[in-house]
């Protein structure tokens, strides 16, 4: 299961993802990202500190979120992935496109 809490400040949305981001829950994340974009805050930061497990479908949701955010003139950044999440990121080479930031502040800094 997954819990997603999002807070927006100007055009930046921070989504805290707690639990397991998998094929069963990926569509929830997609919905939250979509809402952030339609609400006019398309710079999305996904905080993965409390995400204990992610599979490729979960990563797929991040990538399609990235694309939609960029289409809307924003971007998507990920923060503080756990060891398991980092492993999957590097297994798929996705860390070359979605480079993890250490914390939310660091992710926000360059925007």
């Amino acid at each position: 299961m997954i819990t997603l809490t999002s807070t927006s400040e100007k055009d930046v949305t921070v989504v805290e993802s707690t639990g397991r981001l998998t094929m069963a829950t990926a569509s929830d994340l997609t919905a939250v990202i979509d809402k952030a974009i339609t609400d006019g805050a398309p710079k999305v930061i996904i905080d993965l500190a409390q995400t204990v497990f992610v599979d490729s479908t979960g990563l797929g949701a991040l990538v399609s979120g990235l694309r939609r955010a960029r289409e809307a003139g924003g971007d998507l950044r990920i923060v503080a992935p756990s060891e398991q999440v980092s492993t999957v990121l590097s297994l798929t080479n996705l860390d070359r496109v979605l480079f993890p930031f250490p914390d939310v502040e660091a992710a926000r800094r360059e925007w």
Binding site: A26, S27, S56, T57, G60, S64, E71, T92, R96, V97
Partner: protein, 636 residues
Amino acid sequence: MRILAIRTLVVVSLALGLVYLVWRWGWSLNLHYWWIAIPLVLAETYSLIDSGLFGMAMWRAKERPTPPAPPRDWTVDVFITTYNEGAALVGKTARAAVDIAYPHRTYILDDGNRDEMRALAAELGIEYLTRTTDWDNRPRHAKAGNLNNALFQTSGEFLLILDADQVPHAEILDHVLGYFHDETMALVQTPQWFHNVPPGDPLGSQAPLFFGPIQQGKDGWNAAFFCGTNALVRREALMQLGLREYVREQTEAVRQALDAAQSVLRSAIRTSRRRGGALSPVLNELSFAAIDAKNELRLGVPLAEVTGKFQRAAETARHTVLRQDLESMQSDLAALDLNVQLDAVALSALADREWSPLAALKTVTSLIEAINAERLHEALPIMPVATQSVTEDMATCMQLHASGWKTAYHDEILAEGLAPEDLGTATNQRLRWCQGTMQVFFRRNPLFMRGLSIPQRLMYFNTMWSYLAGFAAIVYLTAPFLYLVAGILPVKAWGYTFVEFFLPYFLANQLLFVVVGWGRPTWRAQQYSLAMFPVWIKGCWSAFRNVYFGRKLDFIVTPKERPTGAQPYPWRLVMWQAVAVATLLIGSVIGAGRLITESGGTLFGTIVNWIWVTYDVVVIGIIFTAARYRPTQEAP
């Protein structure tokens, strides 16, 4: 025991083949007629390599034991892909899919967006999926696109993929899911079998040699092929593939942008030198930064870091130039449309322009910025099922193997489908397979694909190699004709020497086929591999033109409406085979005439070539039976 017999025969037939070919190359080339002698010996070498690869597959033919039963809580999606098949046909498959014993969800993947399919799904209480609006005005990628579209709207751990006509047995999931206890197992393929094929199989639809010994042989080297339908796939494996491809393409986009930047800079440096050269050191430095960036890409540095660093270098360069040179040439910029896809043409256009330093730097900056834009010309950022070939199954499977996944072949018929019922449709189908396979060969040659083991490379290469049979066939058909009509002898040998070398090799080879295909009819497949020679040539040639020159793939025109009652004989489909047979028969008669009038040819030589002609005609003859074939009843 059987495997021992097969291995012995493989060794014997390859050894005899090797002896024969050494003799052919070293001692029997008639170089007086080199223009046919060389092609013939090349064709024979081709055939021996083909046998070698076949023997290699058979060496480890794997008969898998029944896998353990699956747990009851795995989630499975059953996908029925359809484009234009009727509701009766899809309905039959869908009903059988609903009745599959293991818990699952059934989906109709309707690429035709049809109301009758929606109604059918509603009636059966199953899910209906069609393309999302993301696909509007974007490449649809046929069946691969249809599957990818569904992947992002479903969530089962495993996917059973069925073509619209493939009616599954209720036990299919129970028998096959167990293989996935192995967490590195990505895919299990089961046979394709057709229930509407008459005895004798005139169209050569059943593939008992492929769905049997050949797949088992490939399986032995962990290279069992995915054949697009009747297969169970692990979603995680497909998605990982999609993600890797996505990253690969993004990286490629950055590399191309850096290439473009370099060529702009080179041309600006040339311009600058002509005008005194004060600014070329700055531009030079940025060129080096581009080279560094490309090296970093190769080393796997994150893309944002690579582009960010290069971007800053470009910014610094721009400030330096601004200070030194304030006259800018805005006109350079106006003409440039950065939304164009960067290809060879666009690149050379960039390189040919005359650039002022400032305009060049501005352009370089914009080029790098443009890659942050996503691949918006595609419907989905991630395409797990490969889209670069018309045989999406083979390309996908190869990438699965290259990223370390396993596949298995399960040799039990668990779904029954409909085969083409006329030669036109059958020919077109073979043409597509040939084209798709050769597309993969030209785009992503398995011999050089990183991640594949050597045997895996050879197993993929084997399939591609076998499609070159059409070119060898031309030689095999021409050589006996030349001897019979003009006494042209490509083989220089005395008396029975040829027979002594050739016959043991030929017989051992045939015996191997008999043992490998024990109890399975394999002769039909052998016939079609020669009889379809015009199709193989056309397939290879059009795939070549498609990959290297961007031409559309040719296809064979078949009548859309099948006329009722008497149908004309489809001469056009068998034209080349008819020419070949007629030529050979005329040649045989001329040969007889030459022998009687003693104007050329020896009795021995003529007899050998008559046997050869007979073999060719008997093998090719199947195509004329196939052309005459009409189904006796409507397909159920």
